[in-house]
């Protein structure tokens, strides 16, 4: 059966409600944190702000700590409550989601490190338009996936799953134009490579957002669509 965020908080044990609610709240806090990391890493690059880039790089530890904390809470719920059905799926989805959020955090700090290298080299702004564009796109995906998680919203989750294809093609076309830059001007190779790493990190963030959206579908529907091509999904069945 489908679950909704309302029915989910009607356990006879108020304490259990509270524990599950805390898991979600902490996951959202972690999500907000990594989303800010991505945003600041990209801003640092685009604005040439090396102090901001350093801050993002150093902040990764806070994200990692939050992952450990949430995982620990999940372990406790599993051990003490032996959750079943949607409660079990919630705990599993949270565990999986923290792992993807932590990796988004890693990608953000990768972006920050490459931004620092670019700022230090003082090289031009080739590929920055693409970086800005793709970063906005994947940040929206992360945000939407987290909103879908908070609201048990299948429609929004499916939208994120489909967005990932768009990001992939934007990424491919950006790589192609950067390759042209490198061929035209071999002196730019080192800086263009850094931009490519940043684009690669952004594309990976899109993949992680896609995973987060898939966990929402698992949470609400009990269906694991991780290895199903988005185009082959029977969406009508999922929305039923």
């Amino acid at each position: 059966m489908d679950i909704t965020s309302e029915t989910h908080s009607q356990h006879i044990s108020k304490q259990f409600n509270h524990e599950l609610e805390e898991l979600k709240t902490h996951l959202m806090a972690m999500g907000g944190m990594v989303e800010r990391q991505v945003q600041e890493a990209v801003s640092a690059l685009l604005d040439g702000d090396s102090r901001l880039a350093e801050r993002v790089r150093d902040n990764d530890k806070a994200v990692n700590d939050l992952q450990l904390k949430i995982d620990d809470e999940c372990t406790r719920v599993l051990a003490r409550r032996q959750p079943a059905a949607s409660d079990l799926r919630l705990v599993l989805a949270v565990i999986r989601a923290t792992s993807d959020l932590e990796r988004i955090g890693d990608e953000a700090s990768k972006i920050a490190r490459n931004a620092l290298a670019l700022i230090e080299a003082g090289n031009g702004a080739k590929g920055f338009v693409e970086v800005r564009h793709i970063s906005e796109h994947v940040r929206k995906m992360v945000r939407d996936a987290l909103t879908a998680f908070a609201r048990f919203d299948i429609d929004l989750a499916l939208k994120v799953v489909h967005e990932d294809d768009a990001v992939d093609s934007e990424y491919t076309s950006a790589m192609r134009s950067l390759m042209t830059f490198m061929m035209e001007d071999p002196r730019s190779i080192s800086s263009v490579l850094s931009v490519m790493w940043i684009l690669r990190a952004l594309e990976r963030i899109g993949d992680h957002a896609d995973n987060l959206a898939e966990y929402v579908i698992y949470l609400v529907k009990g269906l694991d669509i991780r290895h199903i091509d988005p185009d082959e999904l029977d969406e009508d069945a999922l929305k039923r």
Partner: protein, 278 residues
């Protein structure tokens, strides 16, 4: 392991209750076929129009809140209600194709084929040996050596032999609660039943004894059909292959245990197994 995963469409007329989600077990793989079974104690209905098949050589659990009818259903399967004049019954129960209420069915033989173990261990006030021999003595006479062999086999099957082999003639009351329950199971197994009905068999036992009983249930399903009534949902999830959720005398959902405990189809089941207000 569950082998049948097709579930009838809740809207299809084949399901007993229009809103129920009931797995379709093929007749050829069924031990019990229950059809339109209703049962009332006087004017108080206890079971309403239940239709389900219980698969052979699998563990099937009946779960549900107190008063939902799960024990009533279990007791109906070996006609324990015959002893109560107040009970009124409608519908059919077939065991391996034969209606158990048919006039030619002898109740004593039915109860040999369909053994029952209750919540509180009830060994007879006699020795361990005599407890297991009790049912055998009611049957055709055996030579002592044959009887001894049967008793050893039954006690081994009930995973009790190693603990009692040196004191077979001690009183059954000298055993611990968990051992007594396994002795009762051995007593039931000695007459070679086809089905074992277990009504909360571990609810009076400590966790270690409970695990031994659960292990025993698992080991017995290679030759028996086991039906378990339990309030302990983790127990149902641990040992059963199929789970039927009953509520207010009706079958709500019947599915492979893996499916029922990870992704039940109906809200009522979900609420019950996750401890939400129904």
């Amino acid at each position: 392991m569950p082998v049948f995963d097709s579930v009838t469409d809740p809207a299809s007329p084949a399901s007993a209750v229009s809103t129920a989600a009931v797995i379709e077990i093929p007749a050829s793989a069924s031990c019990f076929e229950i059809e339109g079974l209703s049962l009332a104690y006087g004017d108080t209905p206890a079971l309403e129009n239940l239709t389900l098949r219980v698969p052979r050589q699998r563990v099937t659990a009946f779960i549900g809140p107190s008063g939902c009818g799960k024990t009533t259903l279990l007791r109906a399967l070996n006609r324990l209600h015959d002893l109560n004049d107040e009970v009124r019954r409608q519908g059919h129960i077939h065991l391996e194709g034969q209606e158990i209420h048919a006039p030619e069915v002898e109740v004593a033989e039915l109860r040999r084929r369909v053994g029952m173990v209750f919540q509180t261990p009830n060994p007879f006030p006699m020795s361990i040996y005599e407890n297991v021999a009790f049912g055998l003595r009611l049957q055709a006479p055996l030579k002592k050596r044959q009887r001894d062999e049967m008793i050893e086999w039954a006690l081994r099957s009930a995973a009790l032999w190693d603990e009692v082999k040196d004191r077979l003639h001690d009183s059954a009351w000298s055993l611990s609660g968990g051992q007594q329950q396994r002795l009762v199971i051995a007593r039931t197994l000695a007459v070679e039943p086809e089905v074992l009905l277990l009504d909360e068999p571990a609810s009076a036992l400590d966790p270690i004894s409970t695990l031994k009983i659960e292990e025993l249930i698992r080991s017995l399903k290679s030759r028996l059909t086991l039906i378990l009534v339990t309030h302990n949902m983790q127990q149902a999830a641990r040992v059963s292959d199929y789970t039927a959720f009953l509520h207010a005398g009706e079958l709500v959902e019947y599915a492979a245990t893996d499916a029922l405990f990870t992704n039940p189809r109906l809200a009522q089941t979900e609420n019950y197994i996750t401890g939400r207000m129904v």
